[in-house]
């Protein structure tokens, strides 16, 4: 009887095994290359973003700026804040949308750290377009520029006149001003409660954040106060009002501590400058004691609740007109 069958020669076995191995390696390597590419891209974007923020972190006294950051692909921004060292540090990491999956974000790239910028993000910042605005904080000298980055539209209910003017002057298109929460809902489609910010009006049922003014007599309105939001109560003074509204409590508290670390270091720097002017025989500023008090108050700040005390000390420093240490 004739046996019919297929001869499975060594060549065939080798071809099958080698082919399968090569295919597996090729698929695995392409996956790895893609991941490495995404990781590299995320790291580069984070570095480019922080370089872009550099000029925004040093604008002139009292200046405010606003603008839009547009990117080529969707990103998710992660911010980590630390209070170690003499100035603390903030780390920005970015994850980009996966190449073949529009819904998922890839791994975070390498975090880019800096200690001279204070960036406040809204919770879960993601998208390809971000609005930003900066405000400089003076306590009493120029201390830092506060950079606030948002990815949503907001509605401010009954804000004070100066906030309204600032929003209009800067042309912040992602913030609208209304008299009631109802007007916000009417004017904004797909509005979420977290996007409604009420100034001494409304209730926690309708407003995402409630801003309360605690400024004393003779002080500018809302120069001291607190913001109640789902992440907790954040106390503010002066320009810290905006970061308190837009950022989450943990980030806010950490960045406030970092700003105070810088205030303390700047107070030391101005003390040193005062001494140099005195040694050169130019003038006597007479500010050393006041600067030391400010340095101590800023250095020992524990939470944003202590900001009010720092503001009172800063407000009490009056520069000697003939020996000004700062402009």
């Amino acid at each position: 009887m004739e046996k019919r069958g297929f001869e499975f020669s060594f060549n065939w076995i080798f071809a099958l095994i080698a082919g399968a191995a090569i295919l597996f390696i090729a698929i695995y390597a392409s996956g790895k290359f893609l991941n490495t590419g995404e990781f590299q891209q995320s790291t580069e974007t984070a570095k480019k973003l922080t370089t872009l923020f550099e000029p925004l972190g040093v604008q002139g006294l009292g200046e405010a700026r606003t603008g839009k950051i547009s990117l080529q692909s969707d990103i998710k921004i992660y911010s980590d804040c630390f209070t170690d060292g003499s100035l603390g540090r903030q780390r920005i990491s970015i994850a980009e949308k996966k190449s073949f999956n529009d819904k998922e974000y890839g791994d975070k790239g390498v975090g880019i750290e800096f200690s001279n910028k204070y960036i406040f993000f809204t919770e879960e910042s993601e998208g390809r377009e971000f609005d930003y605005f900066t405000k400089s904080l003076n306590l009493p000298f120029k201390t830092a520029n506060l950079l606030v980055i948002t990815d949503k539209n907001y509605c401010f209910v009954k804000p004070p006149r100066f906030v309204e003017d600032e929003i209009n002057d800067l042309g912040m298109k992602n913030i609208i001003i209304k008299e009631t929460v109802g007007d916000c809902i009417k004017n904004m489609t797909m509005i979420n409660k977290s996007q409604v910010v009420c100034f001494d009006t409304g209730s926690t049922n309708t407003c995402g954040s409630m801003v309360t003014d605690t400024s004393g007599a003779g002080e500018e309105k809302y120069s001291r106060g607190y913001v109640n939001s789902p992440s907790g109560t954040k106390y503010f003074v002066k320009e810290l009002l905006y970061p308190a509204i837009f950022s989450k409590k943990t980030d806010y508290e950490c960045n406030v501590k970092r700003i105070m670390m810088r205030t303390s270091n700047l107070a030391k720097l101005y003390t040193e400058k005062s001494k140099l002017l005195s040694i050169r025989g130019v003038c006597e500023s007479g500010q050393e004691t006041a600067l030391l008090t400010l340095d101590t108050a800023a250095r020992t700040l524990r939470t944003s609740q202590d900001l009010s005390g720092v503001k009172s000390i800063a407000d009490g420093i009056n520069q000697n007109g003939i020996c000004e240490l700062w402009n």
């Binding site: 580069e44 550099e54 200690s115 830092a144």
Partner: protein, 172 residues
């Protein structure tokens, strides 16, 4: 018997052929991988160098406005710069190798570099603030023109701002 010997030799030859084939295939992929890695690492190095240079340029243009140095727009406070040199604050604020602030006009020193200290304020032309913690030299370098101002007292005893024209160089 003879036929078995021939078959054995044939089989040995096939095994040798296969081993060489596997070795060749592996070598080919290793070479392709190495080539890809070289290309990739050179492009990463290039983009890192570009980013560092961009950072140096941005810093050179903006550092004069930072609270630690500024006395106005694009103005460097001489006394703050000296105070910054005396403290270790610089190293914490900017993770860069050095800042050099050079007085350009009026010309001082006739081309010789004279570093400033508390005793030679009028006859020096360079303030150098270095970060001794950074030793790598593959960063970027960029310069920008600035005003360098300091407080002085005139003959009548009034203080005024004395300004000179200068250049700030950042090495990242």
């Amino acid at each position: 018997m003879e036929l078995k010997k021939i078959t054995n030799k044939k089989a040995q030859f096939k095994i040798q052929q296969t081993a060489f084939m596997i070795l060749g295939t592996v070598l080919f992929f290793v070479l392709v991988g190495l080539f890809w890695l070289t290309l990739k690492s050179s492009s990463i190095n290039k983009s890192a160098a570009n980013i560092k240079q961009e950072e140096a340029i941005t810093l050179a243009l903006t550092i004069a406005d930072s609270p630690e140095l500024t006395c106005g727009t694009q103005c460097i406070d001489y006394d703050k710069a000296q105070a910054l040199k005396n403290t270790r604050l610089f190293e914490a604020v900017w993770p860069i190798r050095s800042i050099e602030i050079r007085k350009i006009y009026p010309k001082i020193g006739g081309g010789t570099i004279i570093e400033c200290n508390s005793g030679n304020i009028d006859s020096c032309n360079l303030i150098r603030i270095e970060n001794k913690g950074i030793t790598s030299s593959n960063g970027g370098t960029a310069s920008s023109y600035v005003k360098i101002c300091r407080k002085e007292k005139n003959a009548e005893g009034y203080t005024y701002d004395k300004c000179q024209f200068g250049e700030i160089t950042i090495k990242t």
